[in-house]
């Protein structure tokens, strides 16, 4: 793949300086600025009037786009009719949506303050706790690994390391949860983490990882770290290669050592990437964490394991409590839109292109 398409893909995601070779960067940036200005003036220029002639002339393009547009509306927006269930006492056996009993805001009351109030508050806390812990641990881990990988001068060794650490990203969560279940089990069931801890002498008796509620957030964060650590470094490594080498040379001339350069050049150099990624990811904070709590959370630890998505699937879908699950789903969607929207605004304010 040539360079142009790569940087174009990068632009699409709002991390534009990341994957460019350093040498052409400043010239490229100037060119792009000019291009952007031109695009803007075109976009905001005199609006073409849409006449039937134009629409007819573009019938081929319309034929390509409109059926798919209708398709998307059907599968992404039309399901909103299901939100009606939130205001009903929905019983699957009673027939369709129009045969149900309307109850107003009873379900909202029930979920947020009433009978389910305590459980749902804990569910929200679990979602936030697991997400934030995963996000923080994952971000720190990826930055540190990117910095260390950047110091490896042997390119072959570096490539091998990258390929090994990227690999778990492509395994499904089912497989990862299965591996984690084995790893965390008791020593005689093949739990090699316990075997290791016992052998080294850190603990005297096996740790019951999956039956102790207080460990669960850590297990989720740790397992996610194992899966995504290498993959998350890619963006940071790309950002590091975009740092002007002249900065390092100047620092060397001034007598900066390895750590000095890492701390005072590399880290500030990738700071915009770090901040933008953190902001973007924090927008999705209620939407992450589904598979691990679903697979690894059992009855003994559900007070710490149950997240919104698990609640919707287990309590709502599988136990037939559709109404309350839809209320929880509406809550999640609305909060997510607010979070993602403000995250995008914040990222935009930092003068970075975002997707929307």
């Amino acid at each position: 793949m040539t360079n142009a398409p790569v940087s174009d893909l990068v632009t699409a995601t709002g991390l534009e300086p990341a994957a460019e070779p350093a040498s052409t960067r400043s010239a490229d940036r100037k060119a792009r600025k000019a291009q952007k200005a031109r695009k803007k003036s075109v976009a905001k220029g005199p609006k073409r009037k849409i006449t039937w002639d134009i629409v007819w002339a573009q019938r081929a393009l319309l034929a390509m786009a409109v059926p798919l547009l209708l398709y998307q509306v059907l599968f992404k927006y039309v399901p909103v009719y299901g939100w009606a269930i939130a205001f009903q006492n929905y019983k699957p056996g009673r027939g369709g949506i129009f045969d149900q009993q309307w109850v107003g805001f009873d379900n909202f009351e029930k979920l947020f303050t009433g009978v389910m109030g305590e459980r749902f508050r804990q569910v929200i806390i679990n979602t936030l706790g697991q997400s934030i812990l995963t996000l923080v641990v994952g971000t720190f881990g990826a930055i540190i690994l990117a910095l260390l990988l950047n110091e490896v001068k042997n390119l072959g060794f570096k490539r091998v390391l990258q390929n090994i650490t990227y690999m778990p990203h492509f395994l499904s969560w089912v497989i990862v949860a299965s591996l984690a279940a084995v790893a965390l089990s008791l020593p005689n069931s093949g739990g090699f983490i316990n075997q290791f801890l016992l052998a080294v002498g850190i603990v005297d008796e096996p740790v019951m990882f999956l039956t102790e509620p207080n460990y669960f957030w850590g297990i989720v964060a740790g397992t996610s770290l194992w899966k995504e650590l290498g993959w998350n470094t890619i963006l940071y490594l790309a950002a590091i290669t975009a740092i002007d080498p002249a900065l390092y040379e100047a620092a060397e001339v001034d007598g900066a050592g390895r750590y000095r350069k890492m701390w005072n050049i590399t880290l500030p150099g990738i700071m915009p990437t770090i901040v933008v990624l953190l902001i973007i990811n924090s927008g999705w904070i209620l939407s992450t964490n589904f598979e691990l709590p679903y697979f690894l959370g059992n009855g003994l630890i559900s007070e710490r394991a149950e997240t919104i998505d698990v609640f919707v699937l287990r309590y709502g879908y599988q136990l037939g409590n559709y109404s309350l699950a839809v209320v929880a789903g509406i809550f999640k969607t609305i909060v997510a839109i607010i979070l993602v929207g403000s995250a995008n605004q914040a990222a935009k304010r930092m003068n970075q292109e975002t997707l929307v």
Binding site: T13, R48, L62, Y81, F170
Partner: protein, 342 residues
């Protein structure tokens, strides 16, 4: 300072060696050499620190790689071990009593065997339809003369952030009569908004002249899309296709929600998930997997749940590990699809 040329002026020791070394050379040789010189002197000066850091760093990274690989190697070893023996535990990365029996049992299990082919079929259909429709729409939206491209793009982009929720989506599929049918796998996912934007941006980078000249020669939009733009988009299509394939292969929730009623529609990930769920209930709570050892018998062959599960895990992971080498080439562009999406 050992490399400082004899003729150079004597410098205070605190001053780094770059300047004195560079000056006399600058008069003799081309500029690039000056740039290369300073690091060499530095490296000699910082030998102990450099060696220490490199050793520590290398060791740490090797340990990290080992930690990444160990769970998979361990599962591989267990799957290649005799099932009854595996229950005793203590298998590292090498099988203790080598046996292919687990794989024999797994591949003879009707459900797993069929689920494997259903996973393959589903992945192929999803990738084909997804690439076809996404690229067609991306082409239309990449044409700057297309009057409705902005509102249409906006409607698609918003779906990245808006999700009606699990149960409303389920109700739609149910009301469309697609429960327990193969359509439930591919029809709802023929377009991914994110890939659409990536592809549209890629198509915009194709020189306008290429498309213009084809249009001049009388090619319609469908023809330009299929015969001109698609071949030029191969790299982007490869990336998107591979990621869609991985996503489809790894999915299990669609089977659980829509198609769990029909055994022939079961996928490998779903079967593995069922096995995982049952062993989590049976094994973890009683605290000992040995309790239900020997409970699995298939075709007169005895093996244990843990060995069997390991074998199925490997069967589910191997196709991914096989396409992995092909994915590598596209990492730099692929990460944009994978990571930012979260």
């Amino acid at each position: 300072m050992s490399s400082t040329p004899v003729g150079a002026p004597v410098q205070p020791v605190a001053q780094p060696g770059a300047e004195p070394a560079a000056k006399p050379l600058a008069t003799l040789v081309a500029r690039p050499l000056i740039r290369r010189k300073p690091p060499k002197t530095r490296r000699k000066k910082l030998t102990t620190e450099h060696v220490l850091f490199t050793t520590a760093n290398t060791t740490f990274l090797i340990v990290l790689a080992a930690v990444t690989l160990y769970p998979l190697l361990n599962t591989l070893a267990i799957s290649l071990n005799d099932g009854m023996d595996a229950v005793r535990g203590g298998i590292g990365i090498w099988p203790r009593v080598f046996s292919l029996k687990n794989y024999e049992v797994v591949l003879n299990m009707d459900t797993i065997y069929k689920a494997f082919f259903m996973s393959v079929l589903k992945t192929v259909v999803v990738v084909a339809t997804n690439l076809f429709f996404t690229s067609m729409l991306a082409y239309a939206l990449s044409r700057s003369e297309f009057v409705f491209r902005r509102p249409i793009t906006l409607i698609f982009v918003l779906t990245m952030y808006f999700d009606a929720g699990l149960i409303p989506n389920y109700l739609l599929i149910r009301d469309l009569g697609m429960l327990n049918s193969f359509q439930a796998y591919w029809v709802p996912v023929i377009i991914s908004a994110f890939n659409l934007i990536v592809l549209r941006t890629y198509m915009k980078s194709i020189p306008e002249e290429v498309i213009e000249s084809a249009r001049m020669d009388g090619a319609g939009h469908f023809r330009v899309w299929w015969q001109i733009v698609m071949p030029l988009c191969k790299p982007a299509l490869a990336v998107i296709g591979l990621f869609v394939a991985v996503g489809s292969w790894n999915a299990w929730l669609d089977t659980l929600l829509y198609n769990s009623g029909e055994q022939w529609l079961s996928t490998l990930q779903y079967e593995l998930q069922k096995l995982l769920a049952s062993s989590m209930n049976a094994g973890q709570n009683s605290g000992n997997m040995a309790n239900n050892a020997a409970s699995v018998a298939s075709g007169g062959q005895l093996t244990s749940p843990i060995a069997l599960r390991s074998a199925i895990t490997m069967v589910a992971a191997v196709p991914i590990l096989c396409v992995y080498p092909f994915l590598q080439k596209h990492f730099v562009s692929g990460l944009m699809i994978g990571s930012v999406k979260g």
